[in-house]
Amino acid sequence: MIIGRLLLDSLQLRLGSFNLQDVDMTVHPGEVMVILGPNGAGKSVLLEAIAGFHRLGKGRIYLGGQDLTYEAAENRHIGFVFQSYALFPHLSVSENIHFALPCSLRGSSNGLRKVGELLERFSLLHLSKRRPKDLSGGEKQRVALARALATDPALFLFDEPFAAMDAPIRMNLGEEIRAMLKETGVPAIFVTHDQAEAQYLADKLAILHEGRLIQTGCVSEVFSRPANVFTASFVGMENIYEGVITEVLSGGALVKTGKHCLEVYTAISLALGEKVNIAIRPEDIVVDCTRSKSGQKNIIQAKIISIMPFGPMFKIRFEAGWPVCAYVTKQECVYKGFVLGSLVSLHFPFECLHVIRDK
């Protein structure tokens, strides 16, 4: 199978009351595209449409230059890895892999050799006679990958394969999949609703919401420059404030939001009086205990109203005219003596403030 790029050309699909609308996407060989979206956004439907389980209303699917739009699912050469891997429970590990061989290889010595090679490549030789129920999560994943590879897929689709897994092993499993994809050079789409998972898996990220692709780009771009308020809040920009441009500066503007005025810099040109949203990630806010002199740019006074443990950090909420949320390391919290009711100053660095046009 020749490895080429996947091209989705304005896919449209209606499924009951759900609509997939004008999905355009390109995934190059060796690239991992992660589709991130909340539950019900249509992520799985999109994957299943690419795999050929749903009839498209409009649009085309090209893979390696071939038009797959009307091809039956069984002829598409797409490796689909489902949640919990969907291994055949009544077949052994080697039988699971053997099932995926093309008709011409099944039962032949060449076919058996291929199964053997795949078992060896994924360190499954000692498990070849086992049934899926006797395998660990990681072993199941390796069987699922080996089985999918037996068809020489031109594209890999992953539908939340780790959703039923314990958190500590997810990252290892993700790294294993990434390594396999990079080695084979097969383009891949990964679907998840977990932004942490998206960050370590993705080369490119696409945000899907209510059946529409809202933003596609590299991971850092989507996380730091979300295209709209939905994406911003979905990728963890917890501080989003509505404001009005009160003064246009060169390459930026002054934005009045509530009783505060923030100075922002952005590539988009803004007009006086325009309504915008200002967003900043909680980890980008600098929290200091010293009271600032009034009038300093982008520094505002705030009072701590809650401190919650959040993994290795503390998540602190402030009242500053509007609610603010920031992450502070535990060490910093103790060192600077932050307690409930502490008065602090919050610094919003220019480079971390992101302007989102109000639509």
Binding site: E48, A51, G52, F53, A73, E74, N75, R76, H77, I78, G79, F80, F82, Q83, S84, Y85, A86, L87, F88, P89, H90, F99, A100, P102, C103, P132, K133, R147, A148, A150, T151, A164
Partner: protein
């Protein structure tokens, strides 16, 4: 520590109700068994027509169960997989035999499949197949009343197959036939076998419709009724016990082979 279920008055009451129910099932059957002597059993088993009735019943029930599988499993698969709203009506139709009195079934079958019936007439005329007083008639009655057990058991089996397993098989290059034969069927065989067993048991016990469409050749339940009318309780109860033991034996052996070494299938967790 394990929860002690008998501690509340509610569970005590429930156990009492459940116990009464079990006693209600077991006591009459136990009484039937206690009422017999080895000599009475021996006497009925020595009767040629009794033995023939038993063999005929088993034969007809096995054939019925096989036909039921052939006809019922495809329908069960359609009911499980298709989302057509019209299939909800089909579901209701499948369950009709469970609700209709069996004498009514007999009369309805007689009207359609009798020698002058709209189906039975042409079949008799062109193929010399008669359902009136024949082995085919017995099978017809058994099939009508026991089909729902085959369809419903298979349906439960198909419903329990994770749809992702069939989907992944397609992405691995398997067409619909290969998926059905190599993936779906192996995952549901226990459900199919359960359906076969229930259908077999239900067929063997059918009386009401058979007595109307095909009194002769006599099946075991009809023969018991015949013995009761001709010779009273002693002979009929002895044969009843023989049939009871036979049915239970088939049922228990089947369950043992099916679930003896229990291994849940269908879902891979």
């Amino acid at each position: 520590m394990k929860q002690r279920y008998h501690s509340s008055s509610l569970s005590l009451l429930f156990w009492l109700a459940g116990g009464l129910l079990l006693a209600f099932i077991v006591v009459p059957l136990f009484g039937l068994a206690m009422d017999q002597t080895p000599a009475s059993i021996h006497r009925v088993l020595a009767m040629e027509d009794v033995r023939q009735a038993i063999i005929l019943t088993i034969e007809a029930a096995v054939i019925t169960s096989l036909i039921a599988q052939l006809m019922g499993v495809p329908l069960a698969y359609l009911l499980s997989r298709s989302r057509l709203p019209a299939l909800r009506i089909v579901e209701a139709i499948v369950d009709i035999p469970l609700t209709v009195p069996h004498t009514v079934v007999g009369i309805a079958l007689l009207i359609s499949f009798g020698r002058n019936g709209m189906i039975g007439g042409p079949l008799f005329h062109w193929a010399h197949i008669s359902f009136w007083g024949s082995f085919a008639g017995i099978v017809l009655c058994m099939l009508f009343v026991s089909l729902p057990y085959t369809v419903n058991a298979a349906r439960i089996g198909f419903d329990n197959v994770d749809p992702r397993i069939e989907k992944v098989a397609r992405t691995l290059g398997a067409g619909p036939w290969r998926i059905f034969m190599k993936v779906t069927l192996p995952l549901v065989w226990r459900s199919l076998a359960t359906g076969f067993n229930l259908t077999l048991a239900r067929s063997m016990s059918e009386f009401g419709s058979i007595v109307i469409l095909a009194y002769y050749p006599e099946t075991a339940p009809v023969k018991i009724y015949d013995l009761f009318l001709q010779f009273g309780l002693s002979d009929s109860s002895a044969m009843s016990l023989v049939i009871l033991v036979l049915t239970l034996l088939i049922f228990i052996l089947f369950r043992y082979f099916l679930f003896g070494k229990k291994e849940p299938m269908g879902f891979d967790r």
